[in-house]
């Protein structure tokens, strides 16, 4: 996957708690993180690193004909098979387009809802979130011109009366290689012909 991640703003997670957040000492079991995208994107995949989150729900806000609609594209996706145990707690995940319930096209905001029912863990979150857009159809690589002319398709040439191309090519190749050796050995060293105590002297220049 060579596409670059789309730039996005990840807001800090908001905990869902019952009761007063300040006085109540129980730890929250749900965190919600919003990610806003600069412009509507067709999402190819979302990748992230888990940190002790057990279940993930992903909701997308899509821009559809000047109205914004929220849809759920992933419901209770299991990140940790046993919320009390370590398995999957630090894993890297990648949610691909075809795993989603709806087409993630023209997405403006992504909402990640993290759930961790176990009381084992003090904190849980997901990190290193990257959103990758769909690759463009006409992604062209620069194919050098000489590469396409390597295997000529025309009919075989009439070489009657011409010198042997193998011998000629071999000599040319050696001459080319010798010139390359010479060029590679060129240094920037100088005699200092025009230097006078480290600088050029105009009078000396005029003599040569």
């Amino acid at each position: 996957m060579s596409a670059k991640a789309v730039s996005c703003t990840i807001k800090s997670a908001v905990a869902l708690q019952i009761g007063d957040a300040v006085s109540d000492s129980s730890r929250p079991g749900v965190y919600i993180t919003d990610i806003t995208l600069a412009e509507p994107v067709n999402i190819q995949e979302i990748s992230f690193k888990n940190y002790y989150s057990a279940y993930l729900t992903v909701r997308l806000q899509r821009r559809e004909d000047s109205s914004a609609k929220w849809v759920t594209c992933l419901r209770n996706y299991c990140l940790m098979s046993n919320p009390h145990a370590e398995a999957g707690s630090h894993d890297y995940f990648s949610i691909h387009r075809h795993q989603m319930l709806t087409e993630p096209d023209n997405v403006t905001t992504v909402r990640l809802i993290l759930r961790q029912p176990s009381s084992e863990w003090l904190n849980f979150s997901i990190e290193e979130i990257s959103i990758y857009p769909c690759a463009k159809e006409d992604l062209e690589r620069d194919v050098p011109a000489w590469l396409s002319t390597l295997t000529p398709v025309e009919e075989p040439l009439d070489l009657n009366g011409l010198p042997d191309p193998e011998t000629v090519s071999s000599s040319i190749q050696q001459m080319w290689a010798l010139t390359e050796i010479m060029q590679a050995s060129q240094t920037a060293a100088s005699i200092g012909r025009f230097d006078v105590e480290g600088s050029y002297d105009v009078k000396l220049l005029s003599y040569t």
Binding site: P152, I172, I191
Partner: protein, 260 residues
């Protein structure tokens, strides 16, 4: 019968004793190291020259002409493609010619003389070598540092090989040894070489791939067939060997950096 071993043994004893002396064994060790490094085709002749140079050095320290010929001898020991041996020979030659008291570096006159001798020993005529020497030689009073010395020596050695190759190329292009080559063919061949040399400066690997694609046998055959359609293969103006060699030399020399 009993006498022979007696008459032989004193002589062989003294020979063995002579070789076992520390100075002699050090000399032999040095000579063998040089021999192993350069691997000449005539090892005995090489050893003879080596010891001759050593004795000449012992007699008369700094006769200039002798030092130039000694430097040339060292440079002739290894072909430039044997890179490490060639480099160490260049270092030895440099130290032979360097003028210690005046700030280290080879005096320009000696350097230019050495380059001229290198070119003539490489089989280059004066007229072929002249444009190259104009670019790389120094004035008599100038002092040449090691990097430049090495570059100049390597350039002359490589140029000699290059001219030899261009002579082989001319022979390949000419249809018969006694007949000159067709001018159009010569020009086509030289222009494929020029194209390859002019390949744009990208990364080394990409540049080598592109250049080698331009001088593959198929490309060369195509270039030759284009300028020489089957109908007119026999006649047409010709180019003689010297003109071809000069044109090829010009391609090389154009890429040699002028010394300043």
């Amino acid at each position: 019968m009993a006498e022979k071993p007696d008459s032989k043994s004193p002589k062989s004893d003294s020979d063995a004793e002579f070789v076992c002396q520390p100075e002699v064994s050090a000399l032999l060790r040095g000579a063998l190291l040089e021999l192993l490094q350069s691997r000449p085709e005539d090892p005995v002749g090489f050893l003879a020259e080596h010891f001759a140079h050593l004795s000449a050095e012992a007699e008369d320290g700094a006769a200039e002409h002798r030092s130039v010929s000694r430097a040339l001898w060292h440079l002739s020991l290894a072909h430039h493609s044997h890179r490490s041996a060639f480099n160490s020979n260049v270092r030895v030659a440099y130290e032979l010619l360097a003028c210690g008291p005046s700030g280290g570096g080879v005096r320009g006159r000696l350097y230019s003389e050495m380059l001229r001798s290198l070119c003539s020993e490489g089989g280059l005529s004066g007229s072929t070598a002249a444009p190259l020497l104009r670019r790389i030689q120094s004035h008599d009073y100038e002092c040449v540092p090691f990097q430049l010395f090495r570059q100049g020596v390597l350039t002359c050695a490589v140029f000699a090989d290059y001219i030899r190759k261009s002579q082989c190329l001319y022979a390949a292009v000419a249809s018969a040894p006694d007949r000159p080559a067709q001018r159009t063919l010569c020009q086509a061949v030289l222009s494929t070489l020029r194209d390859a040399l002019d390949t744009a400066d990208r990364t080394d690997a990409a540049r080598y791939l592109e250049a080698s694609a331009k001088i593959s046998p198929a490309k060369v055959a195509q270039a030759m067939a284009e300028v020489h359609p089957p109908a007119q293969r026999r006649d047409g103006p010709t180019m003689d060997a010297q003109e071809f060699e000069d044109a090829a030399a010009a391609l090389f020399i154009a890429r040699v950096r002028t010394v300043t």
